[in-house]
């Protein structure tokens, strides 16, 4: 073999070390991020106004509290409502199965904003009927309407999470428990649910995060949650830092929750790790 043909042989690519093109792009992008971050920081310092802060900080806190209440209440009520829906989805009765499917399809297929409008403005069309059954005081309040709409919405999502998690547990687990003489309720509580929870934890965490983010829309129907307070503060001050404060709070909230879910998942899957 001559030297020339040897040179023509293609060699496996050399793995580059040190300064690569990827690093150049990475450094450029990080510089842009840093510049944006500094610009926002500079803007915040520049626009800093102790008056505005002392006036609006308590309002932001009360808005945050409303957001947390809204999410906790509707996720909790949704969890309760999701159980019969999930059972309906797995039911052998065709009619019940179809009804549960239609419920889930409707609430997952339409925007939460449209559902909220349908409850808050739409149910107003039935005011005489609602007054007759004494429900009007409930549906007159924007906050109750929001809780109602959010509960129905999250119940549909949670029902699917629950169903998926329970179906992920093998059939053999039910049979083994039956062989041991456990009742169906005991099986569900002691054998199926602990295993299903591991599968369901992450989707549940995501659903709560989606609800926190989704809850911002109640500001449109005049509930003064964190977003509502932000909009009110912006409308009065025309100061853009009001929105940046809200962004920081929402980001912090979501990140804390995400890390909490990661932590819980690490703890409850300890026995599965080798």
């Amino acid at each position: 073999m001559s030297a020339e043909t040897q040179a023509a042989v293609e060699r496996p690519p050399v793995i580059k070390e040190g300064w690569t093109r990827a690093r150049t792009i990475g450094v450029v992008l990080l510089t842009i991020w840093a510049a944006l971050g500094l610009a926002v920081l500079g803007f915040m310092i520049n626009a800093w106004d102790p008056d505005i802060f002392t006036r609006y900080a308590p309002r932001y806190l009360s808005g945050l509290w409303i957001t947390v209440q809204l999410v906790v209440v509707s996720v909790f009520l949704g969890a309760i409502l999701s159980v019969p829906i999930a059972l309906g989805r797995t039911s052998k009765n065709k009619l019940i199965g179809a009804l549960a499917y239609a419920y889930v399809y409707f609430f997952r297929g339409t925007p939460l904003l449209a559902q909220t409008f349908l409850v808050y403005y739409g149910l107003g069309s039935f005011r005489p009927e609602l007054q007759a059954v004494g429900l009007w005081t409930f549906f007159r309040e924007a906050w109750y309407c929001a809780v109602f709409a959010f509960t129905l919405n999250t119940a549909a999502y949670q029902a699917e999470i629950l169903r998926g998690a329970i179906e992920s547990v093998g059939k053999g687990q039910w049979e083994a428990a039956a062989a041991l003489g456990l009742s169906r309720f005991q099986t569900a509580r002691k054998i199926i649910l602990p295993q299903a929870l591991i599968v369901a934890l992450r989707p549940y965490g995501n659903e709560i995060i989606l609800m926190i983010k989704g809850s911002a829309i109640v500001a449109i129907i005049t509930v003064y949650d964190l977003m509502g307070e932000t909009r009110r503060a912006y409308a009065r001050t025309f100061d853009f830092q009001t929105y940046i404060w809200a962004a920081i709070i929402y980001l912090g909230l979501v990140e804390v929750l995400r890390n909490a879910v990661d932590w819980i998942e690490r703890r409850i899957t300890k026995h599965l790790k080798r």
Binding site: E10, P12, P13, T20, A22, R23, I25, G26, V27, L29, L30, W33, Y105, F106, G109, T110, P111, L112, L113, A114, Q115, F117, L118, Y121, G122, L123, G124, S125, F126, I212, K213, G214, S215, A216, I217, A219, I220, M227, T230, R231, Y234, F240, Y243, I244, A246, A247, Y250, L251, V254, E255, R258
Partner: protein, 237 residues
């Protein structure tokens, strides 16, 4: 019942034509956002699986921000923030100029940012499902890196990412409802106007929900067709 049909008819008496325009706007906004979100999401995914630490960090900051912010807040940040930012830049050159951001573009950018940060995760998972041997195989038959990407990796990636991307499309379709807040005449805004004028809120918001459902169903049909098209060679893994 007669009254309902008049209200929904196309014509001066009815709201059918206005709502149809809203449907058109919703669909065109979603369709315009899709390529933007897909392209950005793809490059962010490439950044996340890069061997370089700085690039990974830059990509992760992007997803952390846009997945953590409420979509409505992102929309406001883009709509008002870009307006203020551009105004400042323009004022440097021409002190009297005033700028107005097109609400459609603001909606496209905000929804595209949200879509792309979720899409990057879908692409990343799909990339991970493609074994290293596929890249090595491409190299072994003498393809360059871009050729390997285009001819070997992308077709498989598409197949793996499609279910996740279908989900994101349905979410995008629903998220477009938020642009009604910044004044775009989409389905929800048009039905909202009709509801206020006619005092038939339940009817019109019910129709809005039904229209979104129909759009979701049509999308599912089309997406199902695309999915079976990507599987046309019966490849199994």
């Amino acid at each position: 019942m007669e009254r309902v049909w008049t209200l929904l008819s196309f014509g001066p008496e009815g709201w059918g034509d206005d709502i149809a325009k809203g449907v058109l706007l919703t669909v065109s906004l979603a369709l315009a956002t899709l390529p933007l979100g897909l392209a950005i999401g793809f490059f962010v995914a490439l950044g996340k699986r890069s061997s370089d630490k700085t690039l990974r960090l830059a990509a992760n900051i992007y997803t952390t921000i846009f997945r953590g912010l409420p979509e409505l807040l992102t929309l406001f940040l883009v709509f008002y923030g870009a307006q203020i930012g551009l105004q400042q830049i323009v004022r440097l050159f021409n002190p009297d100029a005033s700028i107005e951001i097109n609400a459609f573009v603001a909606g496209m950018v905000a929804l595209g940012a949200v879509f792309s940060s979720y899409a990057s995760e879908v692409f990343l998972a799909a990339f991970r499902a493609i074994p290293q041997g596929q890249y090595e195989g491409g190299q072994a038959i003498g393809l360059s890196n871009p050729q390997t990407m285009r001819l070997i990796i992308l077709p498989q990636l598409l197949r793996l990412a499609l279910p996740g991307l279908s989900n994101l499309w349905l979410i995008l379709l629903k998220d477009t409802a938020l642009v009604s807040v910044i004044g775009l005449a989409d389905i929800l805004r048009q039905t909202g106007i009709a509801a206020r004028v006619t005092k038939e809120a339940f009817l019109f918001f019910g129709i809005a929900c039904l229209l979104y459902l129909v759009l979701a169903m049509l999308s599912s049909i089309v997406l199902g067709m695309i999915e079976s098209w990507t599987k046309r060679h019966g490849v199994q893994r």
